[in-house]
């Protein structure tokens, strides 16, 4: 350290001399007869060493990167998302090219620690009709290498986990329209081709365990669907900074009440089915958002009792946003019900919330069994780093009937 000091002082001896002489300079200046002359002398001295403002290294780097990441325009961007639930951490990047003011052509990809892969390309065009409408045209390919399957229903054993792999190739379009106020209409139409394979990872492949008929409906099938979605809802979860902008990524008040209808039409008409999903979210601020009681209810139900639903498209519970103490896809069946409650406290309205939560739910083969008997539950504690409209990091520790689970997520739980 002493060497560094010597070098630094040696290189800047002139400056040091100036510093030591400063009182003498001031005394000379004090020879001025008036205060005005004294100030004028100091200003004249500064005039000899004027320079444009030069940002420091930290400011320059910060500005450069924030412009790159937030500034818009065509070019590469980091891509943070999940390939498929259970795939683990991902690394991703994309490239976008603006075709108009807001319309972009993009290509993006993700790779996860479990070798899940996703590559997509498409056209995104938000912000039409003064921000009330947008659409996206999309084609992509996904490879999920080790998706869990534990059998159907609630009475399955975690030790009975098997894995399957699938490739999904899809192409289609989706659109959203806010006709005014808080109403939201969404629609999508996709061609969806599934190709299932032997599972990878440390668990047996699905066909090694689930061999009996009905244990894994559609096992071995590779259906191709035309998948149509239509949704209507009320969404009044405001952005915490710009109150009239809706915000699904982070909200402390408001609610979402949405009904979503899916039609999966198998090209071979074997696995065609209809499904209805009802999603209710309510954020109730307590003591001026010191705390927030957040509630979520979701029901997914296959509408046709005789419809054959492939095991990998069945409603499920278990993941970082449903039953959080349970691994992804822990429970599957034709119908599901999920109830979640969180008591959040806002440590920093800019960046940090904490929460204790309770999740409970069940899957059933019969819709009539969607009641409050035989629910599987968990509780836990979470830390959420958020912005005004997004939750880029959520870390949670949950405890359920099968033990503890640590959740890392890049989005709000609901």
């Amino acid at each position: 350290m002493a060497d560094f000091y010597r070098i630094a002082v040696g290189r800047h001896a002139t400056l040091l001399v100036c510093l030591l002489l400063a009182p003498a300079w001031a005394q000379d200046a004090a020879a001025q007869e008036t205060r005005a002359e004294l100030i004028a002398a100091a200003q004249a001295e500064k005039a000899t060493r004027l320079a444009p403002y030069t940002p420091g290294r930290a400011e320059a780097a910060f500005t450069r990167w924030s412009t790159k990441l937030l500034g818009g325009g065509s070019g590469f961007y980091p891509y943070f998302d999940s390939v498929y639930s259970g795939g683990g951490f991902t690394l991703g990047a994309g490239y976008r090219h603006f075709l108009g003011d807001r319309t972009t052509w993009f290509t993006q990809g993700l790779y996860s620690i479990s070798s899940y892969k996703l590559i997509e390309t498409g056209l995104s065009s938000p912000g039409h009709l003064n921000g009330r409408a947008g659409y996206q045209i999309l084609a992509g390919w996904r490879d999920a290498t080790q998706v869990g399957f534990y059998g159907l229903g609630m009475d399955t054993d975690p030790d009975d986990r098997a894995n399957f792999r699938f490739n999904e190739t899809y192409a289609g379009a989706e659109a959203v329209f806010r006709p005014g106020g808080v109403a939201v209409l969404r629609g999508a139409f996709f061609y969806d081709d599934y190709d299932t394979k032997q599972g990878e990872g440390s668990y047996p492949s699905i066909e090694e365990i689930y061999v009996e008929p009905g244990e894994a409906p559609g096992l071995g099938a590779d259906p191709t669907f035309l998948h149509t979605t239509a949704a209507a809802g009320i969404d009044w979860r405001p952005n915490s900074m710009i109150s009239f902008r809706p915000s699904a990524g982070y909200a402390r008040r408001g609610g979402l009440y949405e009904v979503e209808y899916h039609n999966w039409s198998d090209r071979d008409d074997v696995y065609s089915f209809d499904m209805l999903e009802v999603d209710l979210v309510q954020h109730l601020p307590v003591l001026r958002e010191t705390w927030v009681l957040s509630l979520h209810g979701r029901v997914q139900t296959v509408l046709g009792d005789d419809d054959l639903v492939p095991y990998f498209l069945m409603p499920s519970l278990g993941s970082g946003s449903t039953l959080r103490a349970y691994p992804s896809w822990r429970f599957r069946d034709r119908h599901s019900m999920l109830l979640q409650g969180e008591w959040r406290w806002i440590a920093s309205r800019l960046a940090l919330d904490l929460a204790i939560f309770y999740d409970t739910g069940k899957v059933t083969s019969e819709r009539d069994d969607l009641d409050f008997d035989g629910l599987e539950s968990n509780w836990g504690f979470g830390v959420r780093f958020h912005g005004p409209a997004a939750t880029p990091l959520r870390v949670e520790l949950a405890k359920g009937g099968e033990g503890w689970n640590l959740v890392f997520s890049g989005s709000a739980a609901f």
Partner: protein, 556 residues
């Protein structure tokens, strides 16, 4: 090697900073002699040509992050403000013009504020540019005379909120002394606007292009639309001169030769802690300020505007302030830890229970739970953190100088459609004003307006005059000294004299020669206010006509 380089840069910065601070202190305090012939100056000289100053851009997020995380570690209160004159006042300058308290202002003058004309000339209004900064919807236009105006609207769903706040705060900050733009309330009908041939638009693609009608509609879609299809807006006259961008609340502009006092040590910027508390000016970012090079006396001078004072009272550009705005910084580490570890149970804060009478046009603004020293902007500035009790007192005197009528006249310019809202805002401002007086007049010796004749020293107790305190039970005492202006040495003169009221007899032996100096240390004697026992040092110079006040130190 990298460590060496880093250390060298740190050492350079340290030495340069020390040099600058030493020079600034020496110049304005007058090393060598304490008082000059022209002390106290009433105008800060700006002698050099600053026309070479160039525009800069202060990154919004950098400014926010720096002030949230770095500034609180680097700046603590301690040093005396460095742009004050020898009698503890702020001279007029390109930053500040003494108005209220310095001269009589009528309520009509306050209501008129910086306005010199009548607003945009009716006729064809041409949109020439989209608004580039901030969240509020707006654009730049030219009126029928070709005068440039910056137009901003009320946020969607919040009629009158942003526009009224701008209009009222504009008048108050002008009366205090800050450079303000001229702001006029206008009604805009979309069909009356045309888009200029040169108007540009910056879409998310980053490819600037000609502005279209649809772009204007997208701006208006974010603004509040009145029932008759028109839009209420504020038109701010374009600031004259070469626009340089905002100013920072710390350091100096390296390209302005007249800017020799670090901004964090400018009293009028420190005083925003009090003016901000009064009006709840929570958004003190550099982006809400503006520097402009104007020509004065044949040379360029950088004038510093508090350009956007609209995030005041209880509302921001797009809706009411968050509940804790005005009470807490956006980030404060220890507070976050306490909340995180206590399930949010501690600390209990007044904003959680303060009784707001919520008018949509005013938002969350109240005076009962308000504690002036507990007020916080969203993000602290270096000047805010450096403020001391003498800076606060200086500011509090100006706040207290506003009469009820002046406040009501300023509030009336907000043109609230609900008389109850107008009444409420004025009442709260009056309540907050009085609280500021009660707090800051009691926190320091509040004696002002010293005068010395051959027989007595007279002065005023600002706290007593403002009726926020009783006269000191033990009266006042004065300790007298001769003062050598060259060496700074003092010699006692006679006995300590005292008086029951703000008049103290002079002792025998007061010098009579022209050019002689005396120093008087005056205390208020009362067990009720400890701070009043700390003396105010007043300095007088003997001139041909008698004694003249040349120095005042409330907190050396």
């Amino acid at each position: 090697m990298r460590v060496t380089t880093r250390f060298r840069r740190a050492a350079t910065g340290l030495l340069a900073g020390a040099l600058a601070a030493t020079v600034a202190t020496s110049v304005l305090s007058g090393a060598g002699r304490k008082f000059y012939d022209d002390d106290p100056i009433t105008r800060e000289p700006e002698t050099q040509d600053a026309s070479g100053a160039e525009p800069w851009e202060i990154d919004l997020i950098w400014d926010l992050a720096y002030n949230l995380f770095a500034t609180p570690r680097m700046h603590l209160a301690g040093d005396r403000a460095k742009n004050i004159n020898t009698i503890d006042e702020v001279p007029d300058s390109s930053w500040f013009t003494n108005r209220i308290l310095a001269r009589p202002l009528t309520a009509e003058e306050v209501a008129r504020g910086p306005l010199e004309g009548t607003g945009p000339k009716p006729g064809t209004w041409t949109v020439v540019r989209a608004k580039e900064a901030g969240f509020a919807p707006g654009f730049t236009m030219q009126d029928a005379d070709g005068v440039t105006w910056f137009v901003s609207f009320d946020g969607k769903g919040h009629p009158e909120a942003a526009t009224s706040a701008i209009l009222v705060a504009n008048k108050l900050f002008w009366a205090i002394g800050y450079w303000q733009a001229e702001n006029y309330l206008v009604t805009i009908r979309p069909e009356a606007l045309v888009i200029g041939d040169t108007a540009k638009w910056d879409p998310p693609s980053g490819r600037r292009r000609a502005m279209h009608r649809g772009d204007l509609e997208s701006v208006l879609a974010r603004a509040h639309r009145s029932a008759d299809g028109s839009y209420r807006a504020v038109a701010a006259r374009g600031i004259p001169g070469k626009i340089l961008g905002g100013f920072r609340y710390q350091g100096t502009r390296p390209d302005d030769p007249n800017d020799i006092v670090p901004h964090e040590d400018r009293r009028e910027l420190r005083a925003l802690r009090v003016f901000g508390a009064w009006t709840n000016l929570v958004d003190m970012k550099a982006g809400n300020t503006l520097d402009s090079v104007i020509t004065e006396g044949g040379k360029g001078i950088v004038r510093h505007y508090l350009q956007d004072v609209g995030s005041t009272f209880g509302t921001g550009a797009n809706g009411p302030h968050d509940w804790d705005e005005g009470w807490e910084y956006l980030y404060k580490g220890d507070l976050i830890w306490k909340r995180a570890l206590s399930l949010g149970l501690v600390p209990r804060e007044p904003w959680q229970t303060a009784d707001y009478q919520e008018f949509d046009a005013i938002g969350r603004f109240e005076g009962d739970a308000f504690v002036p020293s507990g007020w916080r902007p969203r993000v602290p500035t270096a000047a805010f953190l450096r403020a001391r009790p003498d800076d606060d007192f200086w500011a509090a005197r100006r706040v207290m100088a506003f009469t009820d009528d002046q406040i009501r006249a300023a509030v009336k310019t907000g043109q609230y459609s609900d008389p109850a809202a107008e009444q409420y805002l004025a009442d709260v401002l009056i309540k907050r004003r009085d609280k500021i007086g009660r707090e800051y007049f009691l926190a320091i010796n509040p004696l002002v307006d010293f005068a010395l004749d051959g027989t007595a020293l007279t002065f005023e107790n600002a706290a007593v005059a403002a009726r926020v305190a009783e006269p000191p039970a033990g009266g006042y005492s004065a300790e007298w000294f001769t003062f050598d202006n060259t060496t700074g040495s003092t010699n006692p003169i006679g006995e300590i004299t005292d008086g029951a009221g703000p008049r103290v007899e002079v002792p025998r032996g007061l010098p009579t020669a022209t050019g002689a100096y005396v120093k008087v240390q005056v205390r208020a004697v009362t067990p009720a206010h400890d701070a009043w026992a700390k003396p105010v040092d007043a300095y007088f110079r003997r001139v041909a006509t008698g004694w003249t006040l040349v120095g005042l130190e409330r907190l050396p």
